[in-house]
């Protein structure tokens, strides 16, 4: 056992022993995880309702909302999803990663609660301003568009709260190390959380730098400077998401199929590359702006010569390869893809994980890198190709990883059974399927030149007519149907989460090896490795030549690369056909 802990290190009564994982869970820390997770689901609910209203408006045949409300609800959708839902969930992840995953205590619970109150208060203020019509400026609030001062204040309060939580996260790590709650290095999942936290600091510092002067409106903030600094908040906040998502990929892989880490050095290198370079790609949004030159654009949009893309391609291999190896080491499946066929597809944590990886990678990642090249952006900027891309990364990628994690949080942290179990097992398929249709058809519409953030592409009130290809109406209708399916699945997820947490059946004792409705398979049938796993691992690595211990994954990543190469060069071809511009 470890040495006696220093004074103030919490009494044994502050901890509970997790019956499933054997970890010592600090109860005050766990309460923080729960509170942040619950609020994040409330934000998701608002965002999902907004999504339905928006999608029924861009479907021109329905055109549900009047113009003013369309732009208002669009503002609410962006803020609720991209900031409140995602960041509150990430706060839960940071609390969880720095306490439960390290057998450590929350070092500053009172400060954490104060920060939570700031975040919740700020979020409420912002939502009130938006829905009250005082902030019809969209999520980006580009100056000189101007919202009510309290709108900016709300965001500032939220950001200060978040920054405090990030500080507490680092403090928790220092305390955990000092109190020897773990030995060796931080687990890889926690390392991913560290990556997210560091990017969060970069993000929030830039956010403060732009929102405070704007709030004060002491002088007119220069519009180009605003865009430059704002996007260091706007895009980088989504890179916090990428890091958190990847961390959760490693975690869900471990929980569902006993995924192993192939090589700590390589996986951590990928996180380090994210830390150093991923935030620079905020430049993606500024590629056709007049204020900055091509050298700045090229260096920044490429995350410094695509080093952060290398990082993603590393994780894109190590995460599924670790899952494949986790299966093979436990003797599950044979041949090239048996490990995948025999995987727990009925476990909503697992299916969410797989869809998150596949849609993020194939649709989000490939489109993102492509449309983020300086020149291809010319045929993309502010068309529907932009939101088409980021709904594949943030929604199908990060949000799905968060949903998958929730299916495990409910029994492990809230100690309840997952409600509506039959629906829950299907929910990830419904959501992923809907989002796949939505993102692909939205992107398709964008390639016809259909603008984003636009109330009426029939241009009925404009002086000149605009005649889109007749196919566009059908494309937008199919996009809407995909979006509706996903939004309904999201509402279903909210219902599952809320019902489980507040009204769900308490978990009670689990008999290992016995399936139980409402309990994911990773808990009833934990994917434990054999005592001789090291020897088995050696065998899988040796004598395999270039294919290595995870040949199935290697085939999949080469298919991914082929798709990437094809999509990339097709876009250059399309670009070459437009007017000459220089």
């Amino acid at each position: 056992m470890s040495a006696p802990l220093p004074a103030g290190a919490g009494t044994p009564a502050d901890f509970r022993l997790c019956p499933t994982t054997g970890r010592r869970i600090h109860l005050p820390g766990e309460a923080l995880v729960k509170a942040n997770a619950v609020v994040s689901i409330v934000a998701l609910l608002i965002g999902a309702v907004a999504a339905i209203l928006l999608v029924l408006t861009r479907w021109q045949a329905v055109h549900l909302l009047p113009a003013e409300w369309y732009y208002r609800v669009l503002t609410a959708h962006g803020m609720s999803m991209l900031i409140f839902f995602i960041i509150f969930f990430e706060m839960a992840v940071l609390h969880f990663a720095s306490t439960a995953l390290l057998n450590a205590r929350a070092a500053a619970p009172r400060l954490s609660w104060a920060a939570f109150a700031l975040m919740a208060g700020g979020a409420l203020l912002v939502e009130a301003m938006i829905w009250g019509g005082k902030a019809d400026v969209l999520f980006t609030s580009y100056v000189p568009l101007r919202a009510h001062p309290l709108y900016y204040l709300g965001i500032i309060l939220f950001a200060v709260g978040a920054l405090l939580v990030v500080g507490v996260f680092f403090a928790n790590l220092v305390v955990a190390k000092r109190e020897r709650r773990y030995t060796g290095s931080l687990p890889l999942v926690v390392y991913g959380a560290v990556t997210a936290a560091i990017i969060a600091v970069i993000t929030l510092l830039h956010g403060a730098a732009i929102y405070v002067p704007t709030f004060l409106w002491l002088m007119n903030v220069d519009p180009q400077v605003y865009r430059l600094i704002w996007w260091a908040l706007g895009h980088s906040s989504q890179q916090i998401n990428v890091a958190a998502m990847v961390a959760l990929w490693y975690m869900l892989g471990a929980l569902t199929v006993g995924a192993v880490v192939l090589n700590e050095k390589i996986s951590r290198l990928a996180f380090v590359l994210y830390i150093l370079f991923i935030s620079m790609a905020s430049a993606h949004h500024l590629l056709v702006d007049p204020g900055m030159g091509s050298a700045w654009k090229v260096v920044n949009t490429s995350y410094f010569m695509y080093m952060a893309v290398l990082a993603s391609m590393i994780h894109g291999f190590t995460v599924p390869a670790g899952m494949e190896l986790g299966q093979r080491l436990r003797g599950v499946g044979s041949g090239l893809f048996g490990w995948l066929r025999r995987a727990p597809w009925g476990d909503p944590g697992f299916s969410s994980l797989v869809f998150s990886i596949v849609v993020f990678g194939f649709v989000g990642g490939i489109t993102g890198v492509t449309i983020g090249t300086e020149q291809i952006n010319i045929i993309v900027h502010n068309t529907l190709r932009s939101p088409g891309h980021f709904h594949a990364t943030v929604v199908s990628g990060t949000a799905m990883a968060f949903m998958g994690t929730t299916y495990y949080l409910i029994p492990l942290v809230f100690r309840r059974k997952v409600a509506f179990w039959g629906f829950s097992r299907v929910q990830p398929y419904l959501f992923a399927g809907g989002m796949l249709v939505f993102t692909i058809f939205m992107t398709f519409a964008g390639s016809f030149g259909v603008p984003r953030r636009h109330w009426d592409i029939s241009f009925s009130q404009a002086p000149f007519d605009v005649q889109f290809n007749p196919a566009v109406d059908l494309v937008l209708a199919i996009m809407a149907l995909g979006g509706l399916t996903a939004a309904v699945a999201a509402l279903g997820f909210v219902a599952v989460a809320v019902t489980s947490v507040f009204f769900g059946e308490p978990l009670g004792a689990i008999t290992e090896g016995v399936e139980l409705a409402g309990v994911p398979r990773g808990i009833t049938h934990p994917p434990r490795h054999r005592p001789d796993v090291d020897r088995l691992n050696e065998e899988l690595h040796a004598g395999r030549g270039a294919m290595g211990p995870a040949p199935g994954t290697l085939v999949l990543v080469f298919i991914f690369l082929a798709a990437f190469i094809l999509y990339f060069f097709v876009n250059w071809k399309v670009l070459s056909a437009v007017w000459k511009i220089g």
Partner: protein, 58 residues
Amino acid sequence: MTHAPPTRDDPEPRDIPLGQRLFDNVFLLLVAGIVVMLVLYTGWGLWEVVTLDSSPLP
């Protein structure tokens, strides 16, 4: 999975390769991340905007 306490002793700091020690240094990574961003994106970007030609329109 249970978190069993390891029975190997922690290796001496000098036995750990430099790369591992660097990667384990959260504070160093935080500073590096902030500096790279502030120089290559923010600083350079602001410099671009501030030094833009402001001669009259042709």
